[in-house]
Every structure is written in structure tokens, then in C-alpha cells.
């Protein structure tokens, strides 16, 4: 067994009796069943179960989350869009597109998180939520609160607010607050103004300027020194608040660490620290500062959490590590799958070759999509994801799509359409068969027939046709005439079906009084062997009214044929397998019928011969 980086997670099943009883399990389409069994290797099988419950274990529970649902839906749209822009663009425009996709994902995540505000979530997300809440929403709320109050500077959170603003680098707003303080307090007015000035003059790199990094660096050094001087001179000595703010702006680590509570986490600490001590930090140096920030912030009191590991890996630009950490830490595949896909499109991913899925992107997408199939409607999103997995997507889709419960006709049609669009003929056949079977059981023969036709299932079509014919024999009429009348080329699917269609046509012709056509059709049904022998008696009986008509319908030739068929049929007796009593009774009826037929045929023959003879005569 390969060495793992971490122990596999253990899922405990709440059970009362933990003596050595076996657990049995079974896979469902998207979940697993577990229960205690009676097997007990140590002692004789006990009759009383320790734990009488069966548990259903799901691994993709997030699929059922209401809030995440929106995330899944919207990210699905972005995902599909991303797959489609693939080969069209190159160079700059492509890069711009990819960045836009990234931004789309980010805004969708952001929207989701803001929605989560109202609802309690899992521990990892709480971290992120705290971040959003504190550093965006809460600060703004606080700002509004304080400014809106009668006497802002007397607000209990005033200094807290100013500090946060400085920590976040929102110096303009901080200055605004300070000016309020300056206005109302003559003693600190001077200091406030000086600090405010420092805030105003802090050099920042703004996009679009022609300023080089070196120039910025130089300016910043000057500014930094000026701040330092003020501190040394004791300009802010009489106001601990202002002094602390100045220290923060100098990037003093101790001062920053004092604000642990307001910073809330080490990456905020990192950002602030960099802002005020290494504003021109280069990406490659980022991880160094990240690591030290993490260490300083935690101060040996606590150990890094999974999210921390993810961020650290991100700061090191170690993509594979990020993906790996995410896979371990997060409860579903959503994030990793989409991230990896995007990175793959940016060609940033050197794919590992995996046995299953042939590369990491596909592997993760497969996992994510499989999870979606556990949901009664999100499975439709999963289809698209499988579509974009070139190696195993199709077969995975085939396996999953057959397991979707076809609870309504609409759902069945949806599933079928998806299969037909992708030429998944086996699945179409299988699903249609299932639906046809259900229809037959519920005696909806017309529905069953149309499903078997759609499935191109000759055997089943034969079965259903037989049922139709049997029904006709019993009741003397057809059900679902519309369907049978409009079979068209589908009639050719099976001999029995063709017979059914033609037989119905015979009845129609008869109804339209097109007796000659009806007659020849009837005859051809027997002579062409399309009609099953068991049905011949019925057909011949159908011929009776035609034989008894005033005018001669069957020609002599045709009558000879009919006679031959009748003799064929009668010589083929006795029918085996039937109980004697039944047979005798049937024989009686049969004999009468046969006699009647013989008589009718003979009479017709006579008339036909005469008729044909006389035509020539006159």
C-alpha cells in the first residue's frame, strides 16, 4: 500500500453496540448503505441486533445545499463558456478572456459567500466568511455607523475603526476620520493633521503611471524616514492611539501584532505588513513573507489549519500543492475542479498522468460531475462536465445516466434526449425498454408500443403487438388506434408489428367498404406468412362476411388460396399442451367454424367461377 500524506478520514457510524459485529454494505447509485449484520466470528450468531439501523452514507452532501446550488448553476455556465472559447483566440486576447473567466468565477464565489451571510456554514468557510464580513461588510457597516452617529469621535468604536482602516490601507477614509477628531479636539488637532498628512503623502504604485519601481522605492524610503523621524521626535507621544497608528504605518511588527484581533488572520497580517514595509515586493519573494507572517501571527500557539496550507501553497505558486491541499481540505470537488480546469486552459498545469482520467483536470472534473448526479436535478449540469472530459467522460455519463430514476415522463424524455444527442444508443434502448415494460405493466399498450419503437426493440415490439392482438381477440376492438394507424415505416421493426399494422389497415379498408382491397390484403397476410398461424382462424373468420356479400369479392384464384390456407390450418391439428376438456369444447366450436368456412368458400368459388366465366362471354 502506498504511503499517504495523511490518514484516511474515518467516518463513524453511530452504533450502540461496538462488540465485534460485522458490517455489511452496498453501493447505491450515489451513496452507500451500511448496516450491522448478524455475523459474528467470535461467538455464535446473536439474535438480537446491537444496532437495528441501516445507514445511508453520502459523500457529496454539499450537492444538496440550497446556497451552493446557485453556485453550481452559475459556475456551470462559466465552465461551459470557457470550454468553448478554447481554440479561437491566441495571445493577448486569449489571455484577456481567461482573466475574464477568472473574474467571473470570483464574482460568483463572492456572491455565494455574501448569501451565506445569513446561514451557518462549515468551519472552513466560516474563516473566509469572517474575512468577508470583517474586512468588507463589517467595516463598511461600522464606518456608516460611526459617521452617522451624533458625535463620531466619541463613538466607542472610533479608534478601532480608524485602526482597521489603516490596517486595510484605506488611508483616505482614515484621514477623514482623523479630521473629525482634529476638528473637535484642539489638543490633538495638530497631531491629527500631521498624521493625516503622512497618510496623504504615502507613495503608492498606481497603474498607468510612468513611475518605475525604483523611483517608487526611493520616494517610499523618504516617506518612511519622515514617519520614523516623527516617531522618534515624540510628535505623537501624548496620544497612544496616534502613536500606535504611526507605528503601524511604519510596518512595525510588534505594533501590527498588537492588532491581532482586528487583523483576525495571518494573511491579513501579511498584506498589511507588506503594505507598510515592502510595498514593492516581488511575487517570487511572496512565500518567504507568507511563511514568516504565518509563524509570527500564530506565535507558536496554534498550528496551521487546512486553509492556511492552501494559501501557503498558493503564495509559493505551487499549483499542484494548492490543488492537493484543496482536495484534502474541502468537502466537495467544486473548487478544485473548476480551478484546475481554468489553469489547464491557461496551460499552467503540467498534467500528471493518472490511470483514471488520464490527467488531473479530467480526474477532478469526473469526481465533481459524479457528485452532481446524486442530485435529482443538478445531474443535468453534470452532463456538460462529462462532455468535456475526452477520455472517460462518455463512459462515465453512460454509466450514470442509466441510474437516474425516471420518476416522470418529462424526466424520462429529458434523459432520452440527452442520450440521443450523444448517440448513446445502448442507453436509449435500455431506458425505452424500462419505460415500455412499465407501460405494459400498467396496461398502457399504446405507450409501450411507442417506447419499443423508439428503442428499436423488435422483440419487445413483437411482445406488445401480441398483446394488442390478444386484446382484439378478447374484446373485438383495438385500443390506441391512432398509434397503430400512424406507424409508418416503424411498422417494419418486427414482423408481428407489421402484421398488426396491416391487420388494422384491413379493418379500415373494410370500414371504408373497399372490399376488394380489403380482401386481397387479408389474403396476402396469410400467404406472405406475416400472420402468425395462431391468428389464421381469426383471419379466415374475418373473411366470412366478405364471402357472404352479395357481390363476389374474392376471385376464384383467391378462393383457392383461402381454401388451401384452411386445409393447411386444419391438417395441423391437434394442438398439444391443452387440457382435454378445453380441447373438446374448442374442437366443437372450431369444427363448426371450419364447416361454415368450407361452405362459404365453396359457395364463393362457385359464384366466382360463374362470374369470371360470364365476363368473357358477354
Amino acid at each position: 500500500m502506498e504511503e499517504l500524506d495523511g490518514e484516511p478520514t474515518v467516518t463513524l457510524i453511530p452504533g450502540v453496540n461496538s462488540s465485534k459485529k460485522q458490517m455489511c454494505f452496498d453501493w447505491g447509485p450515489g451513496e452507500m448503505l451500511v448496516c450491522e449484520t448478524s455475523f459474528n466470528k467470535k461467538e455464535k450468531s446473536e439474535t438480537v441486533p446491537g444496532c437495528p439501523f441501516i445507514y445511508i452514507i453520502r459523500k457529496d452532501v454539499d450537492v444538496y445545499s440550497q446556497i451552493l446550488r446557485k453556485l453550481f448553476n452559475e459556475s456551470h455556465g462559466i465552465f461551459v463558456g470557457l470550454q468553448r472559447i478554447e481554440e479561437e483566440l491566441t495571445g493577448k486576447s486569449r489571455k484577456a478572456q481567461l482573466v475574464r473567466v477568472s473574474k467571473n468565477y470570483r464574482s460568483v464565489i463572492r456572491a455565494c459567500m455574501e448569501e451565506m451571510h445569513q446561514v451557518a456554514t462549515g468551519p472552513l468557510l466560516l474563516h473566509l466568511l469572517d474575512w468577508v464580513r470583517l474586512h468588507v461588510c463589517e467595516v463598511d457597516n461600522l464606518l456608516a455607523d460611526v459617521l452617522g452617529s451624533e458625535n463620531p469621535r466619541k463613538h466607542e468604536s472610533f479608534w478601532k475603526l480608524v485602526t482597521i482602516l489603516v490596517l486595510q490601507g484605506r488611508l483616505d477614509e482614515a484621514r477623514q476620520m482623523l479630521s473629525k477628531e482634529a476638528d473637535s479636539s484642539p489638543t490633538s488637532a495638530g497631531m491629527c493633521r500631521i498624521l493625516g498628512d503622512l497618510m496623504r503623502t504615502m507613495p503608492v504604485l498606481s497603474p498607468g503611471t510612468t513611475q518605475t519601481l525604483t523611483e517608487l522605492e526611493l520616494k517610499w524610503q523618504h516617506w518612511h524616514e519622515e514617519c520614523e523621524r516623527h516617531l522618534q521626535d515624540g510628535t505623537f507621544a501624548s496620544s497612544p492611539h496616534l502613536e500606535s497608528l504611526c507605528k503601524i504605518m511604519l510596518g512595525d511588527e510588534a505594533a501590527l501584532l498588537e492588532q491581532k484581533e482586528l487583523l483576525n488572520n495571518w494573511y491579513h497580517f501579511l498584506v498589511t505588513r507588506l503594505l507598510y514595509s515592502h510595498p514593492t515586493v516581488k511575487p517570487i519573494d511572496l512565500h518567504f513573507y507568507a511563511q514568516s507572517s504565518l509563524d509570527l501571527f500564530l506565535g507558536g500557539e496554534s498550528s496551521p489549519e487546512p486553509l492556511d496550507n492552501i494559501l501557503m501553497a498558493a503564495f509559493e505558486f505551487d499549483i499542484h500543492q494548492v490543488i492537493k491541499e484543496c482536495s484534502i481540505a474541502l468537502s466537495n470537488w467544486w473548487f478544485v475542479a473548476h480551478l484546475t480546469d481554468l489553469l489547464d486552459h491557461c496551460k499552467l498545469l503540467q498534467s500528471h498522468n493518472l490511470y483514471f482520467g488520464s490527467n488531473m483536470r479530467e480526474f477532478l472534473l469526473l469526481e465533481y460531475a459524479s457528485g452532481l448526479f446524486a442530485h435529482h436535478s443538478l445531474w443535468q449540469l453534470g452532463v456538460d462536465y462529462f462532455d468535456y472530459c475526452p477520455e472517460l467522460g462518455r463512459v462515465s455519463l453512460e454509466l450514470h445516466i442509466e441510474r437516474i430514476p425516471l420518476s416522470t415522463e418529462q424526466k424520462a424524455l429529458k434523459v432520452l434526449r440527452i442520450c440521443e444527442q450523444r448517440q448513446m444508443t445502448e442507453q436509449v434502448r435500455s431506458i425505452c425498454k424500462i419505460l415500455a415494460m412499465k407501460a405494459v405493466r400498467n396496461n398502457r399498450l399504446g405507450s409501450a408500443l411507442s417506447w419499443s419503437i423508439r428503442a428499436k426493440d423488435a422483440a419487445f415490439a413483437t411482445l406488445v403487438s401480441d398483446r394488442f392482438l390478444r386484446d382484439y381477440c378478447e374484446r373485438g376492438c383495438f385500443s390506441d388506434l391512432d398509434l397503430i394507424d400512424n406507424l409508418g415505416p416503424a411498422m417494419m421493426l418486427s414482423d408481428r408489428l407489421t402484421f398488426l399494422g396491416k391487420y388494422r389497415e384491413f379493418h379500415r379498408l373494410y370500414g371504408e367498404k373497399r372490399f376488394v382491397d380489403a380482401a386481397s390484403l387479408l389474403l396476402s397476410l396469410m400467404t406472405s406468412q406475416i400472420a402468425p398461424r395462431s391468428f389464421w382462424m381469426t383471419l379466415l373468420t374475418d373473411a366470412l362476411p366478405l364471402l357472404e356479400q352479395k357481390q363476389v369479392i374474392f376471385s376464384a384464384e383467391q378462393t383457392y388460396e383461402l381454401m388451401r390456407c384452411l386445409e393447411d390450418l386444419t391438417s395441423g391439428r391437434p394442438v398439444h399442451g391443452e387440457p382435454d376438456a378445453q380441447r373438446l369444447q374448442d374442437d366443437d366450436i372450431e369444427t363448426t367454424k371450419v364447416e361454415m368456412l368450407r361452405l362459404a368458400l365453396a359457395r364463393n368459388l362457385a359464384r366466382a367461377i360463374i362470374k369470371e366465366g360470364s365476363l368473357e362471354g358477354s
Binding site: 500500500m1 499517504l4 484516511p8 478520514t9 474515518v10 467516518t11 463513524l12 457510524i13 453511530p14 452504533g15 461496538s18 465485534k20 460485522q22 458490517m23 455489511c24 454494505f25 452496498d26 453501493w27 447505491g28 447509485p29 451513496e31 452507500m32 448503505l33 451500511v34 448496516c35 450491522e36 449484520t37 448478524s38 455475523f39 466470528k41 450468531s45 439474535t47 441486533p49 437495528p52 439501523f53 441501516i54 445507514y55 445511508i56 452514507i57 453520502r58 490511470y355 483514471f356 469526473l366 472517460l392 462518455r394 463512459v395 462515465s396 454509466l399 450514470h400 441510474r403 430514476p405 425516471l406 424500462i434 415494460m437 412499465k438 405493466r441 428499436k456 423488435a458 422483440a459 421493426l493
Partner: protein
């Protein structure tokens, strides 16, 4: 309770137990409604198996009483539709063949024989028996997924493609055997897979994922689970890989529907989940353990043993 099985869609659950009953529950939307309590066996029922939904709602059960019973739902009620009594000893395992082959049930028994019941229509079942499949007894049967040979050639519609039917069995002779149906309809032993040193308790043939390889998992009284793979299409060379040696008997192995996870239940009271990693090694990805503690699972009330 000895076994529980979900149906094809995960909407129904069948359970069987020592109290000789087979129970069926509707488990949609986390509910648990007892639909049927099927009585007919005269001994503990070892295993149940759902047939493919295209044949309707059909369930097979096998028992210590040497019988295999096939139950069918007709007009909303469950009834016994067939009883097979061709074995001299406890029937330990039943498994339905891929639906493409028709309605065929394989049964493995302690009398060492394997019987194959094929539905031929009108309530009739045809029986083929493989005697002495495993000396002492057969504990498990598992069908290979249907693979259409020469599937590149179009079959005329209405004709059944010529499937090569295969299944695997595990027995008290410590062997896993692979069986193949010959052209004359007789079943022949195609392969003997030797690696276990004690009774083979379960075999599971992995679903096909479109690759030319075939994979079988087997577990045994000796605590070992092996993964057997065969790379060539003809199915001749099988190589075993030891998944893990557990400290106790391993009772059951089963593949998830896309064959990417293997679940194993063993005597150490755990169900472990395994996945193949980058370099072909099998890695344990989760432990499902019995014990105290709370977990986010939904609970379905099972049955109480009544004896």
C-alpha cells in the same frame, strides 16, 4: 440482518435476515416505508439481488434452506414468481447477469455447484448446472460486464449481438474461477485464479469503463483482498495485486458504479474505501467505522430480528 441491497435507482431497498424474511422498503427522499415483507424461505436468507428495471421489479433471494426464490411485483403486490430447489445445500450467493443477456441468475451453493437460471418466457425458467464448480462449496458469484464483440460492425436491427457471457466465482477451495459460455451453450471453466490461502468469501467484477482491461476484486478468510487485472482482450493473463492484508476475515467487496472506488468490509468492523492512485497503487481513502460519535448521515430504520 445479513444483506441489504439498493435497487438500480437507489429508490428501493431490499434486506434479508436470519428471521427468514425478505423486506422491501421505499427509501425515496430519505423516507423509509415498508412496502413488502416476503416470506417463503425456511432458513436464514443470505443474499438478495435486484434485477435490471427493464424486466420490471424483480428480486432474487437465496437461503440456507437450499432454495432460491425469485419475487416479482405485479400490480403493486409482491409475489413469489419462481422457486429453484436444485441445490443440495445452502445457497450462498445470487447475482443477476447484465441485462443485455436477458434475465439470467447465477447461484452459488455450498454443495459446490453453480446453477444458472434463464427466463425463457411465460413464467418458465431454464436451468443449467455446473457441478463441482468448487470443492466443498461456492461462496460468491459475480458477472462480467457485457461487452459486445466486434462492436464496430453494425448489427442488423432486431438481432441480438453475440455476447460472450462470463462470470467469476469464489469458493472454499481458495480459488477464484472464471467461467465462459461456449457456443453450444455449455459453461466451461476458463481460468483458475490462485492466490488466496483460505476460503474465498466474495468476488466482484468491476464495471466496464471502456478500457480494454478487466478487473476483479476478491476477498478471503485469509484476510487478503486481491485485485486481478487482465490487459489483453482475449482474457488470458490475469495478474493479482494485493490490495491489503487485513487482520481478520474479509467478507465483502464491491465496486462503485463507475468502478473508481472499491469498498471492502472486513472483520475489523470497518468498511474501507479504496481508489487507484497515479502509479497503479491502491490507496485507502476512507474508513467507515462502527462506533460512537455523530456523523452527518441519514438514518433509515432497518428491521429488527425477531427470533
Amino acid at each position: 440482518m445479513h444483506d441489504a441491497q439498493m435497487d438500480y435507482y437507489g429508490t428501493r431497498l431490499a434486506t434479508c435476515s436470519s428471521d427468514r424474511s425478505v423486506k422491501i422498503f421505499d427509501v425515496r427522499n430519505g423516507g423509509q416505508i415498508l412496502i413488502a415483507d416476503l416470506r417463503g424461505h425456511e432458513g436464514p436468507v443470505w443474499q438478495v439481488a435486484w434485477a435490471h428495471p427493464m424486466y420490471g421489479n424483480i428480486l432474487a433471494s437465496c437461503s440456507y434452506d437450499r432454495k432460491v426464490i425469485i419475487w416479482k411485483e405485479e400490480n403493486g403486490t409482491w409475489e413469489k414468481t419462481h422457486e429453484h430447489t436444485g441445490h443440495d445445500s445452502s445457497v450462498n450467493s445470487v447475482c443477476w447477469a447484465p441485462h443485455d443477456y436477458g434475465l439470467i441468475l447465477a447461484c452459488g451453493s455450498s454443495d459446490g455447484a453453480i446453477s444458472l437460471l434463464t427466463y425463457t418466457g411465460e413464467g418458465q425458467w431454464e436451468v443449467k448446472k455446473i457441478n463441482n464448480a468448487h470443492t466443498i462449496g461456492c461462496n460468491a458469484v459475480s458477472w462480467a460486464p457485457a461487452v459486445v464483440p466486434g462492436s464496430l460492425i453494425d448489427q442488423p436491427s432486431g438481432q441480438k449481438p453475440n455476447y460472450i457471457k462470463k462470470f467469476a466465482s469464489g469458493g472454499c477451495d481458495n480459488l477464484v474461477k472464471l467461467w465462459k459460455e461456449e457456443e453450444d451453450g455449455q459453461w466451461k471453466e476458463e481460468q483458475k485464479l490462485e492466490a488466496h490461502s483460505d476460503w474465498v468469501r466474495d468476488v466482484a467484477w468491476a464495471p466496464s469503463i471502456g478500457l480494454p482491461t478487466s478487473t476483479i476484486a476478491s476477498c478471503s478468510q485469509d484476510g487478503r483482498v486481491f485485485i486481478w487485472t487482465c490487459d489483453d482482450a482475449s482474457g488470458n493473463t490475469w495478474s493479482p495485486k494485493l490490495l491489503h492484508k487485513f487482520n481478520d476475515v474479509v467478507w465483502h467487496v464491491s465496486w462503485s458504479i463507475t468502478a473508481n472506488i472499491l469498498a471492502v468490509s472486513g472483520g475489523d468492523n470497518k468498511v474501507t474505501l479504496w481508489k487507484e492512485s497515479v502509479d497503479g497503487q491502491w490507496v485507502c481513502i476512507s474508513d467507515v467505522n462502527k462506533g460512537q460519535g455523530s456523523v452527518s448521515t441519514s438514518v433509515t430504520e432497518g428491521q429488527q430480528n425477531e427470533q
